[in-house]
């Protein structure tokens, strides 16, 4: 049941990757796949076929990866399935990147073969423009709206007695909003970097960058808070409101994604439109630093800079901050894989993954990579054996697969801790005042034995 869904996600990822990567084939500032071409050669038949080929290869790659992803449909254990899923995801990311590098080289070769190299020009600094470079930056006071929304939502959530969740969310969302303020500040510091010899066009080009990006930072910080909080508000409102709130949540997500794409493409188009108005173009020799599809320039003090597709702000990887950032990405990817796969692997292959220990005062239940539960005998109200697991309402945290449920859940409206192998029957249920515990050992006779021991203590 799960595998077609995950397969669908992977296939979707393949084509999204192909689409985003092939955006580099569309010239922006005369840059195609990280190579700057002379303005009059952008529509040369050789360049057109280069662009077409790159785009075609990206989608062919997506097709091949999709075929590879079909291997997920082979029946296999959960842990192997998840390992395969992550490996396929890494292959998607890695192969898209390799293809990009191959075409960066091809593009460079095309320029060299035809003698289309551009002369490097010094950096032009217009002192008047520099003084007014941030005149179109939106006011930072707009962020007050974002923090206001955050405080309002926190108060509403606090009244619904969500407990510690309120504070965790407030700090997480507060920190996210602060990052957007930081982004706004970084945009203010972005250089003008004149692209033409026409100072009016340079000024307009810079105004566009500053306005679109700073406005984007403000809008995103407001959107993100709303998107995070809305589902939580639905949890305790009446079902009448649920429909309205759920619809608005999905509308908000689609609106946000649509807005982002539309807004950034608009910026890109407006800027390209400006450049067509002047024949002069200043090339500052950046191609060399972009030759691996990422920006690496030890002589550039900037940490953040606009990328060359014109739809993103990227990071100079030659700087310490950039190195930390790029190091975090594989660490996160591998970390996520380990967190998901290791417990599943232990559950699948350990001879006795779900254990218990009967102590003097209490019984301790334990499962792989999950905090053990210590239940005092005095707190136990009832011990029973069930032949069928009641319907699990919601996972709070932990792991839930077709075969296992491990962690904190809501069962029949009550908080519950589960250490359950769905293949093993019966299921031991320990009822306490605040929380229920469900436990199975892989071996059903062991489950029954624990039941008898607890009965004796009770």
């Amino acid at each position: 049941m799960l595998s077609p869904l995950i397969l669908g996600i992977l296939i979707f990822c393949n084509f999204v990757m192909a689409f985003t990567n092939s955006l580099a084939a569309k010239p922006h500032n005369y840059v195609i796949v990280e190579n700057t071409f002379p303005a009059d050669k952008i529509n040369d038949p050789l360049v057109l076929s280069f662009r077409k080929n790159y785009r075609k290869r990206q989608f062919q790659l997506a097709g091949i990866l999709t075929l590879l992803d079909l291997s997920l449909l082979i029946p296999m254990k959960d842990s192997i399935f998840m390992i395969l899923f992550f490996v396929l995801l890494y292959i998607t990311i890695g192969s898209g990147y390799l293809l990009q590098i191959r075409y960066i080289r091809k593009g460079h070769q095309l320029i060299v073969d035809n003698g289309w190299q551009l002369t490097e020009q010094p950096i032009q600094v217009d002192t008047q423009l520099l003084l007014e470079k941030n005149r179109k930056l939106v006011s930072p006071w707009w962020f007050a709206l974002s923090f206001g929304v955050l405080i309002l939502l926190t108060i509403i959530l606090h009244q619904q007695e969500m407990g510690s969740l309120t504070w965790i969310l407030l700090s997480a969302c507060g920190l996210t909003s602060a990052l957007f303020v930081l982004g706004w500040w970084a945009i203010g510091r972005l250089p003008v970097r004149a692209l033409t010899n026409d100072s009016t066009i340079n000024r307009q080009y810079n105004d566009l960058t500053k306005f679109y990006w700073s406005a984007f930072m403000v809008a995103t910080s407001i959107f993100i808070n709303l998107i995070v909080y809305l589902p939580l508000l639905t949890m305790s409102t009446s079902s009448r409101f649920f429909k309205i709130l759920m619809t608005s949540e999905f509308l908000l997500i689609f609106l946000f994604c649509g807005f982002t794409i539309w807004w950034l493409f608009r910026l890109r188009n407006n800027q390209d439109q400006l450049l067509t108005q002047t024949p002069s173009f200043r090339y500052t020799g950046d191609d060399y630093y972009w030759r691996y599809g990422i920006y690496y320039n030890p002589d550039d003090r900037r940490l953040m800079l606009p990328d060359r597709i014109g739809l993103n702000i990227t990071i100079n990887l030659a700087r310490v901050g950039g190195k930390i950032f790029i190091g975090l990405i594989p660490a996160i990817l591998i970390g996520v894989m380990l967190i998901v796969v290791v417990p599943l692997y232990i559950l699948d292959y350990h001879p006795d993954p779900l254990t218990y220990e009967v102590k003097q005062e209490s019984v301790v239940l334990d499962g792989p990579l999950y905090r053990e539960s210590n239940i005092n005998y005095n707190s136990i109200e009832k011990v029973s054996l069930l032949n069928k697991m009641p319907t699990i309402g919601m996972k709070v945290n932990g792991l839930a697969s077709v075969n296992y449920a491990l962690g904190s859940f809501k069962v029949d409206g009550k908080s519950a801790t589960l250490f359950v192998d769905h293949q093993s029957k019966p299921i031991l249920k320990i009822t306490t005042k605040d929380r229920d515990y469900y436990y199975t050992n892989t071996d059903s006779t062991v489950t029954k034995k624990l039941y008898q021991k607890l009965q004796a203590h009770h």
Binding site: P122, V125, G285, N297, R301
Partner: protein, 124 residues
């Protein structure tokens, strides 16, 4: 005014900055009391350390071409600036170099005249 800074040049960036600003003032591309970008704005633009730019600004300030205003930041100094003792020495050396490569005095004088007329007379 419009400066052109080449980060890959042999000439240090702070010297390129100093030279172009002095010529800019002489040509009238920068007027007295005109505001200049802050050290940070300049450094961000060139992708260099703020120290590099501030070294250039500091030198220009010591030579009297720039002044610091508490509210407006760095401004172009009012003209004329106080003459430097070494100026004549430097000019002698430059003219000697010109004279040695071009023995015809007429041509040298025309060259000097052309440069002088490119400067804006009413301010200097």
């Amino acid at each position: 005014m419009i400066l052109e800074i080449d980060p890959h040049s042999e000439e240090p960036i702070y010297l390129q900055l100093r030279k172009q600003i002095i010529i800019g003032i002489a040509r009238g591309e920068l007027s007295p009391n005109e505001q200049l970008p802050t050290v940070r704005q300049f450094a961000d633009e060139l992708g260099v350390n703020t120290m590099t730019v501030s070294k250039g600004y500091q030198q220009l300030r010591e030579e009297g071409y720039l002044i610091t205003d508490r509210r407006k930041g760095t401004l172009v100094a009012p003209l004329p600036v106080t003459p430097k003792k070494t100026s004549e020495e430097n000019l002698t050396l430059l003219l000697a170099e010109l004279y040695l490569s071009e023995p015809d005095e007429q041509v040298v004088q025309e060259k000097v005249q052309r440069i002088l007329t490119s400067f804006r007379k009413e301010d200097v």
